[in-house]
Amino acid sequence: MLSEMTIMEKKTYQTFRMLIGAFVGALVAAAVIMGNLLLAIVTLLLGVLLSYFVKKNVYEIMEDERTSLIANKASRMAILSFLAIITVLGIGLLTLKNNFPEFMQAGYTLSYSACLLLLFYMGFYAYYDKKHG
């Protein structure tokens, strides 16, 4: 079916992307319920491959400098918001460890995740700063 579709319009691409998303989501959910890690990984890889193949066949321009700028801003905001939330939540859970010791592990996990995310952010920031500096 995909081989016949050498040239694709943006709307068709969006429909395919939605279908792929639904297919991958459903299969990954099924794999998680069944406890089948291999199926989940294979499905995710298949989804990435299918998305790449479908995107390659779109003749319309989908991305340009404006969409890159929007993506950059959205990514930065998403990362920083997420970082702020998990930091506050992690520290909050750790400070309550005397009253709620069952949440201590979650607090540590969130706090270490926040540190890791911050390290990644700083690392990539330094890399791109050097690259474009």
């Binding site: 321009i61 989908m62 991305e63 340009d64 400098e65 404006r66 969409t67 700028l69």
Partner: protein
């Protein structure tokens, strides 16, 4: 020590892209295709919601065979 200097002058860019496009009788879609950008980008530039990169501004100027400052006007407020 980092010193941050905040400019009190508000930079503003205006453009005449819509006028130039109309003179050539082109649709936003056609112009977008010619420039290799999305139609939304042309719309955003025309509405002064997005300032194009220097490269895209030069591409636009080259396409309309006009000096860049005829299409894009820099204003200090």
């Amino acid at each position: 020590m980092h010193i941050m200097i905040k400019s009190t002058v508000k930079d503003n860019m205006e453009n005449k892209l819509k006028v130039f496009r109309a003179m050539q009788d082109l649709t936003q879609e056609e112009l977008a295709k010619e420039l290799g950008v999305t139609r939304q980008t042309i719309i955003a530039i025309e509405k002064d919601k997005y300032d194009p990169s220097l490269i895209l501004a030069f591409k636009i100027a080259k396409f309309f065979k006009s000096p860049i400052e005829d299409i894009f006007i820099y204003k200090e407020e």
